[in-house]
């Protein structure tokens, strides 16, 4: 079955530095990938998505990179701020279903 996993369960970065959160997926037929941010006590919040026919997409301070050769997805956050501290989930979509990873906890050190 599909599995979406994260390389590191926790990540600490200095405020102002760039953050990179990684994710591996196993289903080469997945056609869409999404990154979510979850703050304490809240539900996951959509950050950015990318289609399987793209390898890079940029948003505001965030960039998602997709490497289909090695089935790897990453989220880059530029100039990380204290408000970026949260758990980040990647998800892949295959058909109508969405498969989530276990999450990476990002802590921003002031």
């Amino acid at each position: 079955g599909e599995s979406v996993g994260l390389h590191l369960p926790t990540l600490s970065v200095q405020e102002g530095d760039n953050s990179i959160i990684n994710c591996a997926y196993s289903n080469s037929a997945s056609d869409y990938f999404i990154w979510y941010k979850q703050e304490s006590g809240k539900g996951p919040q959509f950050i950015i998505d990318i289609r399987s026919n793209m390898d890079k997409r940029q948003g505001q301070r965030v960039t998602v990179l997709l490497n289909k050769t090695v089935k790897h997805l990453s989220l880059q956050i530029a100039a990380t701020q204290p408000g970026d501290s949260a758990v980040y989930f990647c998800a892949e979509s295959y058909g109508n279903q969405f498969y989530f990873g276990t999450g990476t906890s990002l802590t921003v050190i002031p």
Binding site: G41, P44, N96, Q97, F100
Partner: protein, 114 residues
């Protein structure tokens, strides 16, 4: 614009009891999803409504779980009878038909079965 809301925020019930969770999606969102996160594990898809129709319910764990979306507005998820392994956080999400991947999640309902 109001986001996705869920009720209750937390429910503690005994094994064998019944619990009904409610989700109010964003107005105009025809897609409605239920997910569950068991502690320490990934968020798992349960089912997907398009308006009042169940598009995909393959993620429902067993027949103790019943989801409805009468009228295509709010949705309920009933667990009857609840078992210990049903404990977790139940999330609801909604999206527009044209943007199925841009899902808006509610805050979740934390269910504890004792």
């Amino acid at each position: 614009e109001a986001g996705v809301t869920q009720f209750p925020s937390h429910s503690v019930i005994e094994k064998g009891q019944t619990v009904t969770l409610r989700c109010d999606p964003i107005s105009g969102h025809d897609n409605l999803y239920w997910y569950r996160r068991v502690m320490g594990k990934e968020i798992k898809f349960l089912l997907h409504f398009v308006k009042e129709s169940k598009q995909d319910e393959s993620g429902m764990p067993n027949n103790r779980f019943l989801a409805e979306r009468t009228g295509g507005t709010y949705s309920t998820l009933k667990v009857q009878p609840a078992e210990l392994e049903d404990s977790g956080v139940y999330f609801c999400a909604s999206s527009q038909v044209g943007s199925p991947y841009e899902q808006y999640f509610g805050p979740g309902t934390r269910l504890t079965v004792t």
